[in-house]
């Protein structure tokens, strides 16, 4: 019935036109970043660069002090990786115990986690900042990693719990009967089977942590341990309509996530469609 007709072909072309217009901002971004200082100010936004000028990128990557972009990339990588690691480890073991052991306290813990997902984070930010400041956890990566693990653990536990519920207990029972300890059964048998859950947790959490500006601004602002968005914000704030440089920073900030997206786009989209609503 719904076959590929001439009309469908027309529709396909039409949608491509709409999509290309929708993605036009990327075109401006790329052409402007490769223009020289003068050219970026004087030529039209639509005009392609006369010749590829990498100066904007070189200047952005060699800026020092609080505008040190490579250092902020390193900070972002450390914080994101640390948070993902913690969320996978603590989230999976907690969810495992909560779903597999059916006691009153595990049920209560699960509700504790569920309510924490709904609880908006805004109100907690001020006390968390004061608490972190008083124990020296602001302005460094360890504090930020702990904060993120705390913020995103409910999501991680919830996602793992729904995956564990769908996994039969026979694998780990067989492992334990064969002589594995609970720790071995979990880390050698159960966790490897949970690769899809780990992928979803890592992608969702990684994206939230990597792109975050608000929490990084509050907990790391003014320190040398800036993440990429905060460094981008301070750097761009110091530039006046030097759009080639601004866009060079923007492109540099996008490269890691875009590479990751191209590599795992299907997983990304599934994680979003399925993961967020459990």
């Amino acid at each position: 019935m719904f076959r590929y007709t001439k009309l469908t072909a027309l529709r396909e072309v039409l949608i491509w036109v709409v999509t290309l217009i929708w993605l036009l901002p990327f075109y401006f971004l790329i052409v402007t970043a490769f223009k020289g200082d003068q050219e970026a100010l004087t030529t039209s936004a639509v005009a392609p660069p006369k010749s590829l000028d990498f100066n904007a990128f070189i200047q952005v990557l060699t800026a020092t002090g609080r505008n040190n972009i490579p250092l902020s990339i390193l900070n972002s990588v450390i914080i994101t990786a640390g948070a993902i690691l913690g969320l996978v480890l603590f989230g999976s073991i907690a969810a495992y115990v909560i779903t597999r052991r059916t006691r009153t306290w595990t049920n209560l813990t699960f509700y504790l986690v569920l309510i924490a997902i709904i609880l908006p984070a805004q109100l907690g930010t001020v006390p968390l900042y004061i608490g972190a400041r008083s124990v020296g956890l602001t302005g460094n990566a360890i504090g930020m990693i702990l904060l993120w693990i705390g913020i995103l653990l409910p999501l991680s536990v919830f996602l793992y719990a729904s995956f564990f519920r769908g996994l039969t207990t026979e694998y780990e029972e067989a492992a334990v009967i064969d002589g594995a300890s609970p720790t071995q059964a979990f880390f050698r048998v159960v966790l490897p089977l949970m690769a899809p859950a780990t992928g979803t947790v890592a992608i969702l959490a990684g994206l939230i942590v990597w792109n975050d500006f608000f929490n990084s601004l509050i907990f790391l602002g003014g320190s040398t341990t800036q993440t990429l968005p905060v460094a981008m914000y301070t750097y761009v704030g110091g530039l006046v309509s030097a759009w080639n440089k601004i866009f060079a920073v923007v492109i540099i900030s996008m490269v890691p996530i875009l590479l990751f997206y191209m590599f795992a786009q299907k997983k990304f989209i599934q994680g979003f469609a399925g993961g967020l609503k459990g």
């Binding site: 603590f90 609970p182 599934q270």
Partner: protein, 319 residues
């Protein structure tokens, strides 16, 4: 290590064989131990500390005049009276709601349009889906800078108006008190539409082709098929997309900070930007907490609606 294994193995082997076949009753000790109870401890401590203790403390701060240093007093509802008497702050409440509902309405209309357009039959639908989803994964700050360029006076948007012969429509978009909030709306919509589209694509996957074909054979036109076959099937998607969108929309911060910083003259301030400014720039922790409490209550209302609306989670397929 080896000792533990043997202990466990022995315990497992001493279980009487008939007990193994009976299903484990709830609450009774299981045959094998599924992990150790203390595995849940780090998560419980962090969740209580970061979510519950912090939120409760913040709720308490909202009724004080604490500045983050030194003494503080319990001042009751004074902070809230101040919020609702200050036109800028009251305006920020309206801006928050405007942006939340505005983004939800526009992203859902465009997102559903995209989803319907690329749903079936198109040969390149996966490429289109990947491309249209792309803005979702980028940092809101980076997206905001691209749009800041588009909205500047010499930017592509004004250039476009000149090109189509309507030079009178040119504006300094981000410095215009009327239009700056619309510019933020456009930026947020552009970034989030792909996400909404994917939710709808997931929902559309659950629409049975046979029913749609049957309706088409019975002479239902495209609008009737949409109205009576598609919409009922994607109702759970609509609930998820709208409520998630409102909750996200209420906390918009990055884009405003990058595009206007709350200006011109407070025209684009929202509760989220005000919380930051009052608490962290001006050091008014008590007052900032009161603003956060107002925002929290608004979010909570919609979050509860969302939980209610999406309880029927199984009805939605995966993308």
């Amino acid at each position: 290590m080896t000792v533990t294994i043997e202990q466990d193995a022995t315990r497992t082997l001493t279980v009487p064989p008939e007990a193994r076949r009976t299903p484990r009753p709830r609450g009774r000790r299981p045959l094998i131990s599924y992990g150790h109870w203390w595995w849940a401890l780090p998560a419980i401590v962090l969740v209580i500390g970061v979510h519950y203790a912090a939120t409760l403390t913040g709720g308490f701060f909202a009724f004080t005049n604490w500045t983050g240093l030194g003494d503080w007093q319990f001042i009751g509802f004074d902070n809230f009276v101040r919020i609702f008497k200050d036109p800028t702050l009251l305006g920020s409440v309206w801006n928050t709601l405007f942006l939340a509902f505005g983004t939800v309405i526009v992203t859902n209309v465009i997102g559903l349009g995209f989803a319907l357009a690329i749903n079936r039959t198109l040969k390149t639908r996966y490429v289109l889906r990947t491309l249209l989803f792309l803005p979702v994964v980028l940092s809101p700050l980076a997206v905001a800078y691209i749009w800041k360029f588009i909205f500047q006076f010499n930017g592509p948007l004004n250039g476009f108006f000149v090109l189509i012969g309507l030079p009178d429509l040119q504006k300094v978009w981000l410095a215009d008190p009327t239009w700056s909030i619309w510019a933020i709306l456009v930026t947020v919509v552009w970034q989030q539409t792909g996400f909404v589209m994917v939710i709808y694509l997931a929902g559309l996957a659950s629409v049975p082709v046979e029913i749609e074909e049957a309706a088409a054979l019975d002479g239902a036109n495209i609008w009737q098929r949409f109205r009576h076959v598609t919409v009922p099937a994607i109702r759970p998607s609509i609930a998820i997309a709208t409520t998630l969108g409102i909750i996200q929309g209420l906390r918009i911060f990055d884009q405003i900070f990058a595009l206007t910083g709350g200006g011109p003259a407070g025209a684009t301030e929202t509760l989220a930007t005000q919380v930051y400014k009052q608490a962290f720039s001006l050091g008014q922790f008590g007052f900032g907490s009161a603003l956060a409490l107002v925002l929290t209550l608004i979010i909570l209302v919609f979050a509860i609606i969302q939980q209610y609306a999406t309880r029927d989670r199984d009805a939605v397929g995966r993308a």
